[in-house]
Symmetry: C2
Subunit: 264 residues, 2 copies
């Protein structure tokens, strides 16, 4: 099986021109194919603020009303996606930007409103990612750059968590490739103490994760990320690594000195 | 040679939900492949106004400073492109949205600043459109939806006239397909008197065009559109039609009762 890297890049890197530039230069040196997945929450929040569109968060999740969806579509699928593609093209990487609507490559369902109405938020199911579409592009030597916008195939765009998209693409492609999923963000990896970058956990088993979640050592934004990551491992993804974006080369090479490696 | 339609849709249709919906329904019924090209100037102007970014126009052309380029990228490549793709997908048309940066399908050069600095505006040359990229998508049964953003392959996105993009795609693909180029907008076609929709010129030769341009009957926005259109005919495009978006079915069928047919 051919090897492929799925790389999720966090908002803190997207917002830092120098770190982003260094990260993209590293990516452009890869000889193996990859899929880059991004959101861009902070830029969307900034634009919403300039436009006077109030942002409602519930338990750290954004309520996506119509205006907020338009903002997310403009920032994720427009500005950030095309800037990433143009920069990768300049570096000799043949990138193509995608939302889930393009080629119907990721078809989501609007989140159930029974308990809480999150608005135009999309959830992914086991058949959401159309792997044949990604295969077609990858086999043609293209590098898909996927933003956090999907659709429902009934004409509605949907705001969808980028960590979840990366996980779903990794699982779908693991039928055809040896897939490694990499979550790249601003921290060194999963930390025993979020305030201490030296408290890196180099290897995290699912049992240990559940224990640290119970004790509160791992909390807030790391929980959905790690839930996605362990799900990926259980459903066919070969390896999952979480680490600092600048160490991407070491992460994809499974270098034990960088980031956190997960195991079930 | 296989037949293909290049369809440019004007901003006045994009801004009218009902007309746009009817237009997309017509497109979705086409049995032959097509490429849809769009800008979206009015929505970009609206967003610029909300954000307090002053828009400078010189001779009807927008000066694209950095902030204006970001706005154009958000509106054209993000909001409008993805809404069009999602609607076409809902209608069963397998659309894929593209900027020129994606797959490096349209590589432009920043406009020469010697006489006037238009900012981040891209001009197209004879090898700007990478026809093999469009062929790959079309042969896979995909419908490219192309927005008015290109790049220079050095990492810079560029605002590029959508009429010019449609013309350049039509010319590039005419080496491999029998290409018909259709400019669809709010008016019935080229009018002898712009104020009178009944003054439609059903057939316009280049000689007659040059005469009407001299007398001032044809002016302002129609001039670059028609210059592009006649260029396309001279460079291998089989037919060029200009007409009202609602008549798209008649335009592509070369129905003499609808729109203006051009000839060199």
């Amino acid at each position: 099986m051919k090897r492929i890297q799925i790389i999720k890049i966090g908002g803190e890197i997207l917002d830092d021109v120098l770190r982003l530039d260094a990260f993209l230069k590293e990516l452009a040196c890869f000889s193996s194919p990859f899929v880059l997945v991004h959101g861009g929450g902070r830029k969307a929040t900034g634009l919403a603020s300039k436009l006077g569109v109030p942002q409602k968060m519930v338990d750290g999740r954004r309520i996506t009303d119509g205006e907020t969806l338009d903002i997310a579509t403009m920032v994720y699928a427009g500005l950030i996606n095309k800037q990433l593609v143009a920069r990768l093209q300049a570096l000799g990487t043949d990138a193509i930007g995608l939302s889930g609507a393009d080629m119907n490559c990721i078809q989501a369902s609007i989140r159930d409103k029974a308990l809480m109405d999150y608005g135009f938020v999309g959830d992914l199911g086991s058949d959401s990612v159309k792997s044949s579409r990604f295969q077609m592009l990858l086999e043609a030597g293209l590098i898909p750059v996927v933003c956090a916008i999907t659709h429902d195939k009934n004409g509605q765009l949907l705001n969808t968590n980028a960590d979840t998209i990366a996980c779903a693409i990794a699982i779908a492609l693991s039928l055809f490739y040896e897939v490694q999923l990499n979550y790249c963000f601003g921290k060194n990896g999963v930390l025993g103490n979020p305030a201490d970058e030296q408290s890196l956990i180099p290897h995290l088993s699912q049992t240990e994760y559940l224990r640290l979640k119970c004790t509160g050592s791992i909390h807030s934004g790391m929980i959905p990320k790690l839930d996605n990551a362990f799900k990926a491992l259980q459903e066919g993804v070969k390896a999952v690594r979480i680490g600092e974006a600048g160490a991407i080369r070491h992460l994809v090479q499974n270098n034990k000195h960088y980031g956190t490696e997960l195991s079930v």
